[in-house]
């Protein structure tokens, strides 16, 4: 047990440092302020203008805007932080001062990854709390469904974060991992279309038609299906205190964790013999 605690002590110090440094990044603060303004604007301003004329459609629109804002700004923050925590330290040479200490590379990576997760969670919580408060004030019902949605959204971000982080470990700047992170987010939300492509391919009998079907199938099998984590439709159309339907929360958490572990292991494989 002592050795276990000793092993995680270093990563924890690095994680706290990463968090403290990360929350001061101007780009991240900009994303967060913008997202909070959009949520605040959509949720509160319209009700102050003319609360009596609000219809069901208005409420759905507000919910739609808020869910989309959390998803878009949350993923931007996730990708920005995951892509920059390691390359940033290589660029400013801080990594030399840390890896020259009795810190293993896996401990360093763990620390940076956990630090990035702390930042993502805090930002998600800030956006979620504002949306939660807005819904509660409007409808007078505790929107517990939103809590489940936030939990699943975090696991979606965890997958994106882990793979962006892995790519960042092979890179010396944050540009390429940011692009790859966005690619993962977009394709991860389009995996149902990949299945559709696979089903429609191979009908002409031409080799490239078969190849497209094969590639679409391979991508469908490999890429995480991020749509699984979305409760957007239920939040917009359902009651705020409904239990989540059509999803198995523990299964999705395990699914997200498995992908994240795989992403982190990939990061370690890239990093453990990386020359700096």
């Amino acid at each position: 047990m002592g050795a276990f605690i000793d092993f995680f002590r270093g990563p924890w110090y690095i994680a706290v440092y990463t968090y403290r440094e990360g929350i001061r990044k101007k780009t991240l603060i900009g994303f967060l302020i913008l997202s909070l303004l959009v949520i605040f604007g959509a949720s509160f301003i319209s009700s102050y203008l003319d609360p009596t004329s609000e219809t069901d459609i208005d409420l759905k629109l507000i919910k739609d805007i808020c869910v989309a804002t959390i998803s878009i700004f949350g993923v931007l923050i996730t990708i920005f932080i995951s892509a920059s925590v390691v390359p940033g330290e290589i660029e400013n040479k801080v990594i030399y001062t840390i890896l020259s200490k009795p810190v293993r590379r896996i401990q360093y990576l763990l620390g940076k990854f956990i630090g990035a997760q702390l930042i993502i969670i805090v930002n998600l919580l800030l956006m979620g709390v504002l949306f939660f408060a807005a819904l509660y004030m409007r409808q007078g019902i505790l929107p517990t469904l939103l809590l489940w949605s936030m939990l699943l959204t975090y696991f979606e971000f965890l997958i994106i974060s882990a793979f962006t982080f892995a790519v960042s470990c092979a890179s010396t700047s944050a540009v390429v991992p940011t692009i790859i992170g966005l690619f993962i987010y977009i394709t991860g939300n389009l995996t149902e279309f990949l299945k559709d492509v696979q089903n429609r391919a191979g009908q002409s009998g031409k080799w490239f038609d078969d190849a497209i079907g094969w590639i679409a199938n391979a991508l469908y099998q490999v890429l995480p299906n991020l749509q699984n984590f979305s409760l957007k439709t239920q939040i917009i159309n359902g009651q705020p205190n409904d239990p989540p339907t059509d999803v198995l929360i523990p299964n999705l958490m395990a699914y997200g964790t498995l992908y994240a572990v795989f992403g982190f292991l990939l990061a370690w494989v890239i990093f453990w013999r990386k020359e700096m």
Binding site: D6, R9, G10, Y13, I14, Y17, R20, E21, R24, N92, K93, V94, Y96, T97, I98, L99, S100, K101, P102, V103, R104, R273, E275, M276
Partner: protein
């Protein structure tokens, strides 16, 4: 004397990608640094100094050859790194932290905690003269203060070996002198210091031994006494006039640094110092002083690197 760091036939080749050629950064480097000495590691930019240091810290991996640190070949392992403090050149330390918070962070990475950490923080801050600024945010620090904090983070665990990359670059003369005194003090306490630097005057003032690297090859290694040649003798005289200048030159005495009638005469190797003094008497010059003139480290550096460059051209 025990050996702190030893490399044997250490070679590093950076493989070129696509059409780029391989870069041979280090070629069979045999380096020996004894315990308790200050070793000056010199060389022009791109000579392989930083590559050597990074391999000692496990940040880069040798293509071939070995490194032993305090008798262990497990370079890069936690047990070896526990004995090393490293100050990289131009490292960034976050502005939002206070001086003591930086030390606390790095101290914890060494596994220090509680009273031990607080004691080491106090001792280290005292050693680098930063106790008064420990509560201040780094954004209020001058360049010299940042360098001191950098040195403090390298010293926080009281390591046996200190590796310092350009520790005095960009500092004013007073700060340089203070850093130099700190380093000499550490040597007196038995620490081993490896200093990579372009500041040859600083190195000459403080280092016990130096190694000069050029294009990945160690061109010279030894104490300053072993490496610096006795060049010639200068005779400080008064009473020199224009007529004497040309006559002295004909006899092998070059007039330098003449200010009115005072001048320094450099004695060429063709004549002895005694003959030079006889000539001074013959020209009725007033003798002020006679001093042997040793080669400076800068002259040695230029001579060795120049010779290596001309060998390469051939």
């Amino acid at each position: 004397m025990s050996i702190a760091i030893q490399t044997s036939k250490l070679t590093k080749v950076y493989e070129g990608s696509f059409r780029a050629q391989d870069v041979h950064a280090l070629k069979e480097l045999d380096l020996t640094i004894n315990q308790g000495e200050i070793y000056g590691y010199l060389g022009p930019n791109g000579s392989g100094k930083t590559t050597t240091i990074k391999m000692m810290l496990g940040l880069l991996f040798p293509t071939s050859g070995t490194i032993e640190i305090l008798g262990s070949s497990h370079v890069g392992s936690a047990s070896v790194k526990r004995n090393i403090g490293y100050l990289p050149e131009g490292a960034y330390y976050p502005d939002f932290l206070k001086g003591e918070e930086i030390l606390e962070y790095y101290g914890k990475l060494y596994g220090l905690g509680g009273k031990d950490l607080r004691r080491r923080m106090a001792e280290t801050l005292e050693l680098v003269g930063m106790t008064h600024a420990r509560k201040r945010l780094l954004r209020g620090y001058s360049k010299g203060m940042r360098q001191r904090i950098g040195l403090a983070q390298a010293l926080i665990s009281d390591p046996a070996i200190l590796i310092l990359d350009e520790p005095t670059t960009g500092l004013d003369p007073i700060a340089r002198k203070e850093i130099r005194d700190i380093l000499a003090n550490l040597r007196d306490k038995g620490k081993t210091l490896l200093i990579s630097s372009h500041e040859l005057l600083e190195v000459e003032l403080i280092c016990d031994r130096v190694g000069i690297l050029f294009e990945g090859v160690l061109q010279a290694q030894g104490t300053l006494d072993e490496l610096l040649q006795q060049r010639d003798v200068t005779v400080d005289v008064d009473g020199v006039d224009d007529a004497a200048v040309s006559k002295l030159a004909e006899k092998g005495l070059q007039v330098e640094d003449r200010v009115q009638s005072r001048a320094k005469l450099r004695v060429a190797s063709a004549i002895t110092a005694y003959e030079a003094l006889e000539l001074c008497r013959a020209f009725d010059l007033k003798l002020i002083g006679v001093a042997p003139r040793r080669e400076t480290l800068e002259e040695l550096f230029v001579r060795i690197v120049g010779a290596a460059q001309s060998t390469r051209r051939q």
